[in-house]
C-alpha cells in the first residue's frame, strides 16, 4: 500500500508540473495588467518545438530551451499586437490559441509516430537513496525541481523586490504608474515574454516528460486550466502551487478510485477545476478587500500613454 501511495504521489507531480509552469507565467503576466488567453497556443508551440529539437539533436536540454524560445516568440507576437498596436487582449489571446493549435500541427506533421526516450531523472546523490523521501523528493527530472524554484523566485520577486513592486503597481493602475515615470509598456513586454517562456516550458514538459511524443493538440485544454488556476490562486504564487497540486491530485485520485471500483462520475471530475474556480470567484467576491489586495485592477485594459 505504501508503494502505491508513493507511486500515486509521483503521478500527481507529473500531472501538476505543466500546470505550475503555465500558470506561474500567466500569473506574472496578469499581475502586470495583461490578460493573455493564448496559454494553450503557447504551450502547444513549446511542446512541438521542444520535441522537434530534442528529436533532431538528441538533447533534452536543447529541447527545453527550444520550447522556451517558441513560447517567447508566440508571446512576442501577442505583446506586439496588444501592447504596441493596442488590439483587444481577449480577442488576440484567443486568436493566439487557435494560431498555436494550427501552427504546432503544421510543424509537427513529420513528427507524428516518433517516440522519444524522455528526460532522465536527476537523482540527487545520497539524498535520493533515502527510503520513501528519496523517491518522493529527490529523484525527479530537472523540470520538476525547476518548477518549485520558479514559484519561490516569483513569490520573492513579486512581494519582496523593487522590480516586483513596479510590476504590481503597473498592473494596478497603469495611468498612475505612468505618471510616476514608470515604463508601463516595457515592463508589460517583459512580463508577457516571461509568461510565454513559462508556457513554452510547460509545453516542453508535456512532449518530453509527461508523454514523450508529439501528437496534435496534445495539451488537451491544460492551458485553460492554467488560466483558471491563476484566478483560483487569487494571483498568489504559493496558492497557485497548492492549486496545481490539488487539481492534479483530484484528477489522478479519481482514476485510482475507478480502478478500485469506487463509483465517481468521471464527467463531474472533468469539470471540477472549472467549477472550483467559479466557486473561488464567488467566495472572493464576497470580500471586496481581498480582491482589491491581489487582483490587478487594470487587467485586460489597453494602455494609451498620454503625452
Amino acid at each position: 500500500m505504501n508503494e502505491i501511495l508513493i507511486l500515486t504521489i509521483l503521478t500527481i507531480i507529473t500531472a501538476a508540473t505543466p500546470l505550475v509552469y503555465a500558470a506561474i507565467g500567466e500569473l506574472v503576466v496578469e499581475r502586470s495588467g495583461v490578460l493573455n488567453l493564448g496559454v494553450e497556443g503557447m504551450m502547444l508551440a513549446g511542446a512541438v518545438c521542444s520535441f522537434a529539437t530534442a528529436h533532431y539533436t538528441g538533447s533534452g536540454m536543447a529541447g527545453i530551451v527550444a520550447g522556451m524560445l517558441a513560447g517567447v516568440l508566440m508571446a512576442l507576437l501577442f505583446a506586439f499586437l496588444t501592447l504596441s498596436l493596442q488590439s483587444s487582449q481577449v480577442a488576440t489571446g484567443l486568436a493566439l490559441t487557435i494560431f498555436g493549435v494550427g501552427l504546432s500541427a503544421l510543424i509537427g506533421q513529420p513528427l507524428v509516430g516518433i517516440a522519444f526516450d524522455g528526460l532522465p531523472s536527476l537523482n540527487i546523490p545520497l539524498l535520493s537513496n533515502l527510503p520513501v523521501v528519496g523517491q518522493l523528493l529527490f529523484s525527479h527530472d530537472i523540470l520538476v525541481y525547476g518548477s518549485f524554484i520558479l514559484v519561490a523566485a516569483v513569490a520573492w520577486f513579486l512581494n519582496k523586490s523593487r522590480a516586483g513592486l513596479v510590476l504590481r503597481s503597473i498592473g494596478d493602475s497603469h495611468n498612475a504608474a505612468h505618471a510616476l515615470g514608470l515604463k508601463v509598456i516595457r515592463v508589460r513586454y517583459c512580463a508577457t515574454l516571461f509568461g510565454g517562456a513559462c508556457a513554452g516550458i510547460g509545453g516542453s514538459y508535456l512532449s518530453l516528460v509527461y508523454t514523450p511524443m508529439w501528437v496534435e493538440n496534445m495539451s488537451a485544454g491544460r492551458g485553460w486550466i492554467a488560466l483558471a488556476l491563476v484566478v483560483f490562486a487569487v494571483w498568489q504564487p504559493g496558492r497557485l502551487l497548492l492549486g496545481a497540486y490539488l487539481f492534479g491530485g483530484i484528477s489522478i485520485l479519481q482514476l485510482h478510485a475507478q480502478a478500485l471500483g469506487i463509483n465517481v462520475p468521471s464527467q463531474l471530475m472533468s469539470m471540477l477545476p472549472y467549477a472550483t474556480t467559479i466557486l473561488v470567484l464567488v467566495l472572493i467576491s464576497r470580500d471586496r478587500g481581498r480582491i482589491r489586495r491581489n487582483a490587478p485592477a487594470s487587467i485586460g485594459q489597453a494602455f494609451h500613454p498620454t503625452t
Binding site: I4, L7, T8, T11, A15, P18, L94, A95, T97, I98, G102, A105, G108, Q109, V112, G113, I114, A115, G118, L206, Y210, T211, P212, M213, V215, E216, N217, M218, A220, G221, R222, W224, S251, I252, L255, H256, Q258, A259, L260, G261, N263, P265, S266, Q267, M269, S270
Partner: protein
C-alpha cells in the same frame, strides 16, 4: 471555451471554402472526386489518421483517375452539414463522413444532392444515396482478450475506456469473455477517462491501473500514451487503431488496426464503374477491415497459436465472440450455451459481463 469553439468552427468553414477553391482550379481531366470529412486532426495517430491512410490508398490505387480532398477537425453538429454541402456542391462524386455525429448532417445534405454518393461511418441511417459502414472491432478485442488471459500473471487487466456507449461496452465485453475462456480467474478493471483523446490523461489512467497491480493494459482511446507508460513501467499492452510499436517496442503485444483501405477502394471503384448502391457494411477480421500488427517479441508461441485459432475461427464463422454461455456481473446466465447475441442487441449493448469489475456508468 465556447467562444474558442465558435472561432474554431468559423475557421473550419473558411478551411472548407479554401479547399473547395483549390479543387475547382485543379479539375482538368474530369477525374472522380472523393471528399472526406474528419472529426480529428490527421496527425492524431489514431482514428482519423487511419481514415486518411485510406484516402491515400485511393489515390495510390487510381492515380490520376481520382482526386481526393479532406477537411479535418470538423466539429460534429450543424457546421458539419455546411462542410458536407460545400464538398457536395463543388463537384465531389463520393463523400465519406467519418464520425458518428455526422449522421444527421449527412442525411440532410444527401437529400439535396441526389447525384452525389455519401458514405457515413458508424451510423445507422441510410438513404438512396447514403450508405453506412463500420467495422466489427469487437472481433479484434476477442483476440486481444485471449492473449491477455494467457499472459497475465496478476490476473488483472487494465482497460482504459473513453465513453460508456455501446461500441465501447461491446469491446470491453468481447475482450472479457474471450479472456475468461482461457483464464476463468482473470478480471478486468475499467477506468473511464471521458475523452477520445487526451494523451496526458490516458497516461495517468495507465499509471493508476499499473499502480493497482494490472500487468496488461488495453485501451479504447486514441493516443499511444498508455502504451508508452506500459513500456516505461515494464508491463504489456495493446495498440489501438494503428501499429504503435514505435512507442512501445517491447510492450506492444499486438495492435488492432483499422484498415479502411480495401473498403474505400472498393466503393470508389463502384462510383467510377457506375455500380454504386446504398448498402450497410459491418465487416470484421474476415474482410481485413479489422487487422492486426505483428505479434511482439514478448508473445510466446503457444499464445500466438491460440490467438491465431481465434482469428481463424472468427474468419471461418465457426467461432463468435458473443457465443454463450455468457453470465452477467451477478453470475446469472444471460445467454445459453451455443446461443449467439444478435447484431441488434450488440448495437445497443449496455451492460457488463462477468469478469468486469465495477459498475457501468449510466
Amino acid at each position: 471555451m465556447s467562444i474558442n469553439a465558435n472561432l474554431k468552427r468559423a475557421l473550419t468553414v473558411v478551411a472548407a471554402a479554401t479547399l473547395s477553391a483549390i479543387t475547382f482550379s485543379a479539375s482538368a481531366a474530369d477525374p472522380t472526386k472523393v471528399g472526406f470529412v474528419y472529426v480529428g486532426p490527421v496527425g492524431d495517430h489514431g482514428w482519423t489518421y487511419r481514415h486518411d491512410i485510406g484516402r491515400q490508398a485511393i489515390e495510390a490505387e487510381f492515380g490520376d483517375a481520382v482526386e481526393t480532398t479532406f477537411v479535418e477537425s470538423v466539429p460534429e453538429g450543424a457546421d458539419a452539414e455546411r462542410v458536407i454541402r460545400k464538398l457536395a456542391s463543388t463537384g465531389h462524386d463520393l463523400i465519406f463522413t467519418t464520425s458518428f455525429g455526422y449522421m444527421n448532417p449527412t442525411i440532410k445534405a444527401a437529400k439535396d444532392f441526389p447525384n452525389v454518393k455519401f458514405e457515413h461511418a458508424t451510423g445507422y441511417k441510410r438513404g438512396d444515396n447514403v450508405s453506412t459502414y463500420s467495422a466489427r472491432f469487437y472481433e479484434g478485442r476477442a483476440v486481444l482478450g485471449t492473449m491477455a488471459g494467457m499472459m497475465t500473471k496478476t490476473n488483472t487487466i487494465g482497460y482504459i475506456a473513453s465513453f460508456p456507449i455501446p461500441e465501447v461496452v461491446r469491446g470491453i465485453n468481447a475482450f472479457t469473455i474471450a479472456m475468461r475462456k482461457v483464464n476463468p480467474s482473470a478480471e478486468v478493471k475499467v477506468v473511464w477517462v471521458n475523452t477520445w483523446y487526451d494523451p496526458g490523461k490516458e497516461a495517468d489512467a495507465a499509471k493508476a491501473l499499473i499502480d493497482q497491480g494490472v500487468d496488461i493494459i488495453t485501451q479504447h482511446t486514441d493516443s499511444p500514451a498508455p502504451l508508452q507508460v506500459a513500456e516505461e513501467r515494464g508491463v504489456m499492452g495493446f495498440g489501438q487503431a494503428s501499429d504503435m510499436s514505435a512507442f512501445a517496442p517491447k510492450a506492444q503485444l499486438t495492435s488492432i488496426i483499422d484498415d479502411w483501405d480495401p473498403y474505400y477502394i472498393k466503393r470508389t471503384k463502384a462510383v467510377i464503374d457506375g455500380t454504386w448502391e446504398s448498402m450497410d457494411t459491418w465487416e470484421g477480421i474476415s474482410t481485413g477491415m479489422v487487422g492486426f500488427a505483428e505479434y511482439g517479441d514478448a508473445v510466446p508461441e503457444d499464445v500466438k497459436a491460440a490467438a491465431d485459432v481465434v482469428r481463424e475461427g472468427i474468419v471461418a464463422g465457426t467461432m463468435h465472440p458473443f457465443e454463450g454461455p455468457i453470465n452477467n456481473q451477478q453470475g446469472e446466465q444471460i445467454v445459453g450455451a451455443g446461443e449467439i447475441i444478435d447484431d441488434g442487441v450488440l448495437l445497443g449493448m449496455n451492460y457488463y459481463v462477468e469478469g468486469v469489475q465495477g459498475d457501468l456508468p449510466k
